[in-house]
């Protein structure tokens, strides 16, 4: 398409002025809904995501219950108007896959063995999108889970990393994802133990690039983690204030 675009200029800046390892602006607001047990509204670049959490609650119908643990049910959906071409509201195959890998990513952080026969529902809706929706949804999800007071060993922080115009970069925009040599890797980590809980990749890279991306992902997740902590501190601070 735009093969002549310069994705990173001589000053090391990207099309939107960011440095190669710089995140887009992130704004996280927990506790935005009253019915859900935990919730979060996250703006990440032009992505806007709403998350609501319920559980642990009885897993129904009964035959899906696991007597050894709580089922983590992360659901990823896109609003029909969240993409340039209207999207059929029924879940696409992509949505089902994302829901599955993100459920897996969260399970590591949740103390699922404490709650046999239950499930923890995490409903995430992409209301507006511009690249990196799954990592944004996953990032918002752990905030909503914390908001719900569901016990976790750590948050899950997530970010997309990849390549555009030959350079490895963090947090790609849609424009960068459309680069002719684009590589897009969804990455999630428990920030305190550096355990990788999500990794998916499209595009072609060398082993050296892979190794570098893993480090970039890890570094970027820690930045995301700061936003999550701040959001939750803000919340708990507010709570403290409201107690006084």
């Amino acid at each position: 398409m735009d093969e002549e675009l310069t994705y990173v200029n001589d000053a090391g800046l990207r099309l939107d002025g960011r440095k190669v390892d710089e995140l887009r602006p992130i704004k996280i607001t927990p506790s935005v809904l009253t019915r859900a047990e935990g919730s979060c509204y996250l703006e990440w670049g032009r992505n806007k995501i709403l998350v609501g959490v319920y559980g642990p609650r009885e897993a129904l119908p009964q035959h899906i219950q696991d007597p050894t643990k709580s089922i983590v049910n992360f659901v990823y959906r896109m609003a029909s108007f969240s993409v340039p071409e209207r999207r059929n509201p029924r879940p696409a195959r992509r949505d089902i896959e994302i829901s599955m890998v993100c459920s897996n990513a969260l399970e590591r952080a949740l103390l699922v063995n404490r709650f046999p026969n239950t499930k923890i529902d995490i409903f995430t809706y992409i209301m507006d999108s511009n690249a990196g929706t799954r990592v944004a949804a996953l990032t918002a999800a752990s905030v909503a889970l914390a908001d719900a007071g569901i016990p976790m060993t750590d948050l899950v922080s997530s970010v997309a990393i990849g390549r555009a115009g030959g350079t490895l970069i963090t947090d790609l925009t849609k424009e960068e994802e459309d680069a002719p040599d684009a590589v897009d890797m969804a990455f999630a980590m428990l920030p305190n133990t550096e355990e990788i809980v999500l990794m998916q990749m499209d595009g072609e890279i060398t082993k050296a690039e892979f190794d570098e991306l893993v480090e970039l992902g890890s570094k970027s997740c820690k930045k995301v983690y700061e936003f999550q902590k701040d959001a939750l501190k803000g919340k708990f601070k507010q709570n403290d204030e409201s107690v006084n």
């Binding site: 809904l33 019915r35 919730s39 319920y54 959906r77 609003a79 969240s82 509201p89 507006d128």
Partner: protein, 262 residues
Amino acid sequence: MESDSALWELKKEKVLAKMRENKRIDDRDFLQYRDIKIEQGLFQNAEGSCKVTLGETVVYAGVKMVPGDPYPDMPDEGTISVLAEFMPLASPTFEPGPPSKESNELARVVDRGIRGGKCLDSKALCIRAGEKVWVVFIDMYIANDGGNLFDAGSLASVGALLNAKIPKYEDDKLVQGEYSGDLEVKTLPILTTCAKIGNTIIADPSLVEEKAMSARFSATTLEDGRICAIQKGGAYSFTKDEVKRIMDISMEKGKELRNLLR
């Protein structure tokens, strides 16, 4: 739900007890709406968008405009489609999956108000007669069920239309991200809902009042005082006098709500 039902039964009893003292559970006047907040233009990928907060209720609506084929019997008229998604995060009782009958009813009542009230000029939505017309998709996403989804959903839908732009369409192709102008909204149909609790008529029922109500009555009204859609719901009945009175309330409340949109 099961485990909650006793709790709701209690809450419902409180509503009825207060009603017997001629009071609402949240001390509103019988015909008073909860606080309303309208935010428009939230999402860049939507041609138009609107979030309505009505008390605890939160509804998003988004508009997408898609070039499509006209109906054979209306070759020069655009079409509209209205859907409602009850997001499972909005209530512990909403379940993922195909639209429930409640979601279907909400979408159809909002649809009838917009259509019946001639909110959009369908001929203005013609791109090339007999070949291409605009399909206007209005999709509601219920984010928090605090009761009276009808009024919140309808308001958000009209709010999103008011905020919508028409995409640029050139050489038989949609030019993504560019617009040829604003979508023209001809009328502002406002849906208002009353509930009957005991023999009392109240406006804008909250969730707990919906549990306590025996029936509801919704009407969509226009600027010129005409009524363009009606829907009675719930298992109980209204007298002739009641429906006539509710219609007066609908017009008055319709004016109030319409003013918030302008």
